[in-house]
């Protein structure tokens, strides 16, 4: 195996698996889980040697592969009765699905390279002709100035149009402020969900702050949290 390939080259465990499959020159549906599991684990080991931090998703996949492998060692009938879906087939389906979009993204990349070279122009400003000659305006109120500026800035956030890059000043909220907010919400309702706490298209920093606030509250026994599974919503209840 070629260990010179860096782990961060891969967009996730599925990407790494696809890489291993393509190196082995086999079709996805023909993969031998036993073989691929070994290569996959080898890979993670090498990464550890190079002190590369391994994202949790890669570890979850390692566990899944080992599970599939161990299952294959058991007599067939035993588990077939218990489970509806075959994890090996599931994984193969996921790989095929992911591969489709990965290939599509390569085609989009080609288009992006061409079409990112297109420029547009700003609209012309059309002002009322009748007003042009009158020397009205400028009441001399500094608050009008502020209001005009704020209005423009607010609109600007909405526009978010192409290739116009603005320095964005971001409002930031502290963890302790966030804890206060969550306390208020919990005082009104018995429980809330982590996703609900996040506004529509909120900024990444808001997510981080909210998450830290939840952890902090959990540590102080102010709340209890429940989660059904990986990537699922987190339900927060007052302690």
């Amino acid at each position: 195996m070629d260990y010179h390939v860096k782990l961060d080259m891969f967009e996730g465990p599925l990407d790494l698996l696809l890489h291993l499959i393509s190196k082995a020159k086999i079709k996805i549906e023909d993969i031998s889980i036993t073989e691929i599991t070994e290569q996959y684990l080898d890979y993670l080991d090498k990464m550890k040697e190079f002190d590369v931090e391994i994202a949790s998703e890669f570890l979850v996949m390692a566990a899944t592969l080992l599970y599939i492998k161990s299952r294959s060692l058991l007599p067939k009938q035993k588990y077939e009765e218990q489970e509806e879906s075959d994890p090996e087939q599931d994984l193969i389906r996921r790989l095929a699905e992911y591969k489709k979009y990965k290939e599509a993204s390569e085609k989009l990349r080609k288009r992006e390279n061409i079409y990112s070279n297109i420029y547009y122009k700003l609209p012309e400003e059309l002002v009322d002709e009748k007003e042009k000659n009158t020397s009205t305006l400028i009441e001399g109120d500094v608050n009008d100035l502020l209001l005009a500026f704020l209005k423009i800035m607010a609109q600007r956030d909405v526009q978010k149009s192409e290739r116009r890059i603005y320095p964005i000043t971001r409002r930031s909220i502290s963890v302790s402020q966030r804890i206060q907010q969550i306390k208020i919400i919990l005082s009104k309702t018995s429980q809330c969900s982590f996703f609900q706490l996040l506004e529509d298209n909120c900024h990444r920093s808001d997510v981080v702050v909210t998450f830290l606030a939840v952890l902090e509250m959990l540590k102080d026994n102010q709340i209890r949290i429940y989660q059904q599974g990986q990537f699922e919503d987190i339900v927060i209840r007052g302690a």
Binding site: R94, S105, R111, F231
Partner: protein, 173 residues
């Protein structure tokens, strides 16, 4: 406009596209010229051909059912050089993969995108939202009412597509 010949009308449309800067829906052009939409669409296609045939510096692009005046990609590098703009940043692989899943599977929740990619996509989604390439198109009727994402017209424009039907077909194995 009654006494205008076709060349004049084309010139007028070019002018309107120039002043607007933005894309103009064909419906508005049809209403303005007092013709039905089909005829207006034909006229616009003829205008596009004329621009190409006469090797104009500019081109007219169609996005969904709107038209916009734009530069040609082959002049991109010169524009950059002349105005000293920054090199256009291309999307990272993670962001592009996320975008392609949204493009083909919209409307889709973040969780479903993450299921396909097998990794968290929060950052990629934020980048795409900030760039205006995707938008919220609704909420799923499920616990937590998760946001459904879809692509924008800017997405189409940025990838030279006139509609979602023009997305390159997915290769089924």
């Amino acid at each position: 406009m009654k006494d205008m010949d076709e060349r004049n009308i084309m010139g007028l449309i070019e002018t309107l596209l120039f002043v607007s800067g933005d894309a103009i829906p064909v419906k508005r052009i049809a209403d303005f010229l007092d013709m039905d939409v089909r005829k207006a669409r034909k006229l616009m296609e003829k205008l596009i051909d004329t621009f190409n045939f006469e090797r104009r510096g500019l081109q007219i692009i169609r996005v969904n059912d709107s038209y916009q005046l734009a530069t040609r990609p082959e002049y991109g590098e010169y524009i950059e050089k002349f105005f000293g703009g920054d090199k256009k940043q291309t999307l990272s692989q993670a962001v592009l993969e996320t975008l392609s899943i949204i493009a083909y599977r919209q409307p889709i929740t973040r969780m479903d995108i993450e299921l396909v990619r097998g990794v968290k996509c929060e950052y990629a989604i934020n980048v795409l939202m900030e760039k205006g390439l995707i938008k919220e198109v609704g909420r799923m009727d499920a616990p937590g009412r998760p946001i459904l994402y879809g692509t924008t017209d800017l997405f189409l424009k940025s990838f030279g597509l006139t509609s979602l039907e023009e997305l390159p077909p997915l290769e089924e194995e």
